[in-house]
């Protein structure tokens, strides 16, 4: 169901990828001038994934970037100065110098959740974001990214499994860039396509060429629409390659030179530019115009960042607890009638309904029928899940074989 992109969309994708790369190039210089302290991570060669997927979200949607998703932050609306100041630990950065790199967020306006360094933890968190959005009546989608390496963590599994049982409106973009620090993906996982794992979780998945920004966008758009319609969560595997080392201090000599060359020739920006030129959506003049625009913007942003002060030393003691009324400014925005979730409207019989076996104890006396499947009417898998979880998903009326009992929520054995 891939809709064709408009010219403006194509140009926007190009712009954001170029901005992404220019921001990161500038940060490399700042790093080598000792103005960026700590580590610096690059998404060179992966810009299409960050930009293409984020571009598919609407303003009301939520995202949580990982280290190599600065492109997504730029698309969401984060000004480059914030990215610079974060890395430079400046007092006017979004975290006022308390954390660096992409570890910042904006709950109220841009709907960005900050990552932590541990990988995979964003998955259950963004699942919670998606669930809360649904609960409040927002028609939002939550999106986050994970690498091939990060997909090995336990919390990846817990999070995705939980999201699947909840049918959360959540899109997980798995960037398979073939290297996790110095470990090739072959050593991370024993399978070729990480998207194959979606089947194990019972979720839909897509595989896409991560260096083709238009394809990435189209895939992401479809995934986001499915999630928003209640078909989530969706797993997108974007195939790409990490062209720099793990961070600035890592020259990545463990990557074969031929591999680097192969992927350099598939540079996402060069590819898209070639496409734009071919389709006459952009010419040399237009390209120079974009370059000038970006250069001017970044000069300004960089100057602002460099002139921003460092945080004062005593600031280290502030902010451990949220105290006072003005510190927690988030208020739930109800976009559905609150009455639906308050008594008496919220009341339900607290019983498990199991296809073919009727209702459990506490239901008021209903005992299980002896015949399988033919006395209780509904027993569709989706409806069982919906009834048990209150999701507003569309219940597909697919036929269920009468003999197979649906998923049983068994009483968990005492641990």
């Amino acid at each position: 169901m891939k809709k064709a992109l408009t010219r403006q969309q194509h140009l926007d994708l190009y712009y954001y990828m170029r901005l992404n790369r220019a921001v990161e190039d500038m940060m490399v210089k700042l790093f080598r001038q000792n103005k960026i302290v700590g580590g610096l991570y690059s998404s060179l060669g992966q810009e299409a994934v960050s930009v293409g997927t984020a571009f598919a979200l609407e303003k009301r949607d939520w995202l949580a970037p990982m280290i190599r998703n600065i492109g997504a932050l730029l698309v969401k609306g984060v000004p480059p100065r914030d990215v610079f100041m974060q890395h430079m630990a400046k007092y006017e950065s979004p975290t006022k110098g308390k954390d660096g790199t992409s570890h910042f967020g904006d709950l109220e306006n841009l709907h960005i959740v900050s990552p932590i360094s541990m990988l995979g933890d964003l998955i259950p968190v963004m699942t919670g974001v998606a669930m809360a959005g649904r609960y409040l009546g927002h028609k939002i989608v939550a999106m986050t990214w994970i690498g091939d390496g990060g997909s090995s963590t336990g919390v990846f599994h817990e999070g995705l499994n939980f999201a699947a049982t909840q049918k959360a409106p959540f899109v997980l973009v798995l960037e398979n860039n073939l290297w996790a620090y110095s470990t090739p993906v072959r050593r991370q996982v024993p399978i070729e396509n990480l998207a194959d794992r979606a089947k194990a979780y019972g979720v839909k998945s897509f595989v896409v060429d991560g260096n083709d920004v238009a394809a990435v966008y189209a895939t992401a758009k479809e995934a986001v629409e499915l999630a928003r319609a209640g078909e989530g969560p969706i797993l997108i595997e974007a195939k790409t390659f990490r062209r720099m080392g793990h961070a600035q201090h890592d020259p990545a000599e463990y990557v074969p030179a031929e591999m680097k060359k192969y992927w350099e020739e598939r540079d996402p920006i060069a590819r898209h530019e070639k496409f734009l030129f071919k389709e006459k959506l952009l010419d040399e003049k237009g390209k120079k115009e974009i370059e000038r625009e970006i250069s001017a913007l970044l000069e300004k942003e960089r100057d602002f960042a460099e002139n921003s002060p460092m945080p004062p030393a005593e600031f280290a003691e502030h902010g451990v607890y949220c105290t006072g009324d003005d510190c927690h400014k988030i208020r739930a925005k109800w976009e559905r009638p609150v009455a639906e979730v308050t008594p008496p409207k919220s009341s339900v019989p607290a019983v498990w309904t199991v296809a073919g076996f009727g209702r459990g104890k506490g239901s008021g006396g209903g005992s299980a029928p002896i015949h399988f499947g033919d006395t209780e009417k509904h027993e569709q898998k989706e409806e069982v899940v919906a009834a048990n979880n209150g999701a507003k998903g569309t219940a597909k009326k697919s036929a269920q074989p009468a003999k197979k009992p649906a998923v049983v929520a068994a009483r968990k054995a005492k641990r």
């Binding site: 259950p124 669930m131 919390v155 999070g159 939980f162 049982t165 988030i330 019989p349």
Partner: protein, 324 residues
């Protein structure tokens, strides 16, 4: 006013808060239809529905992580750990995501993580934990461990209304064993304030949770021998009400800490250091602690009894301290 058990007080708090505030939801394992492993959430699902009482897979990291994410949109989730022992399965989420959010990026996570803790019930090494100090040690978290039904209800309400992540430990030994009359109208107990349960002048006994009752029993015993102990119930472990402890020790000049947590790394060591920093010139005796052994919680009743503090151990230590 009705006589309410410790457990029912907790249940009442959840009921009332969910009624009062539609952003309060409960998420955990077996909390919905089953009503919770100890029945603390019995009836909640019937009243508030599937969207607000969420049964989850066995995934503590996902429970805490999802609760955290929900809070970013203004919800106030209560995440239940079926036994507090399992809270360490979500250790990373709690200490790195939830605890640091406000400090690092202005995103406090107003969630409550609660569950049954403590031993003395033949639960063995994985159902009797007192892991409070891992979290007292983590900046950004509040840790509550009440000892009375009145406090349990009032502090859980405060916890739910607090904008910081709060860990609420419920000592399972007390669940059905203690009852108290509690008011029916809405009330809260402030977080971070200790309570003087008994006034005295010869020594101060500081304690919390189930050991608070043991300390009171010991104080009764000591009184028969002419030793008047002042008993302080911490109620909140982080932030610690060190003012109350210091004030009491300035009066009695001797301090004994009783806790069911292991000796090494238990809060008694913290209190001893605080008293040295703030009340050294008022100490007329060493800082004594009566704690569990530095071992996992053993299963056999004879072993567990030896492992735990009890009234006799407290009386013995208090007498030695009073006579120093």
């Amino acid at each position: 006013m009705a006589q309410v058990t410790f457990l029912d007080a907790i249940k009442q708090a959840m009921f009332e808060e969910m009624e009062r505030d539609p952003t309060v939801v409960l998420i955990g394992e077996d909390v919905g239809v089953y009503g919770g492993a100890f029945k603390t959430s019995e009836g909640l699902l019937a009243k508030f529905g599937w969207e607000r009482v969420i049964d989850t897979p066995i995934s503590e990291s996902a429970i805490v992580g999802a609760a955290c994410g929900m809070s970013y949109l203004g919800l106030r989730p209560i995440a239940e750990m079926q036994f507090i022992d399992f809270i360490v399965c979500a250790f990373n989420q709690i200490t790195n995501f939830v605890a640091k959010g406000h400090y690092l990026w202005d995103a406090p996570a107003p969630i409550v993580i609660r569950g049954p803790a403590g031993g003395g019930v033949h639960g063995g090494p994985f159902h009797s934990a007192n892991p409070e100090m891992y979290f007292v040690h983590t900046p950004g978290l509040k840790v509550i461990y009440p000892s009375t039904p009145y406090d349990a209800k009032g502090l859980l309400k405060s916890a739910i209304r607090d904008n910081n992540p709060v860990l609420f430990f419920e000592h399972k030994f007390l669940y059905r064993r203690i009852k108290e009359e509690i008011p029916e109208d809405d009330y809260v107990v402030p977080i971070g304030k200790a309570a003087v349960r008994r006034e005295g002048k010869h020594l101060t006994i500081v304690s919390y949770a189930a050991m608070m009752h043991t300390s009171l029993e010991a104080a009764e015993e000591l009184a028969k021998q002419g030793i008047e102990a002042e008993v302080i119930d911490l109620r909140t472990l982080a932030p610690l009400d060190s003012d109350a402890i210091v004030e009491s020790v300035k009066k009695t000049n001797r301090c004994l800490v009783v806790h069911e947590d292991t000796k090494t790394g238990g809060i008694a060591g913290e209190i001893a250091a605080i008293l040295c920093e703030r009340a050294f010139g008022h100490l007329d005796g060493p800082l004594v602690r009566v704690t569990a052994l530095d071992t996992p919680v053993p299963y056999a009743p004879t072993l567990e009894e030896y492992f735990l503090p009890n009234k006799e151990k407290v009386v013995h230590a208090a007498k030695e301290l009073a006579r120093y």
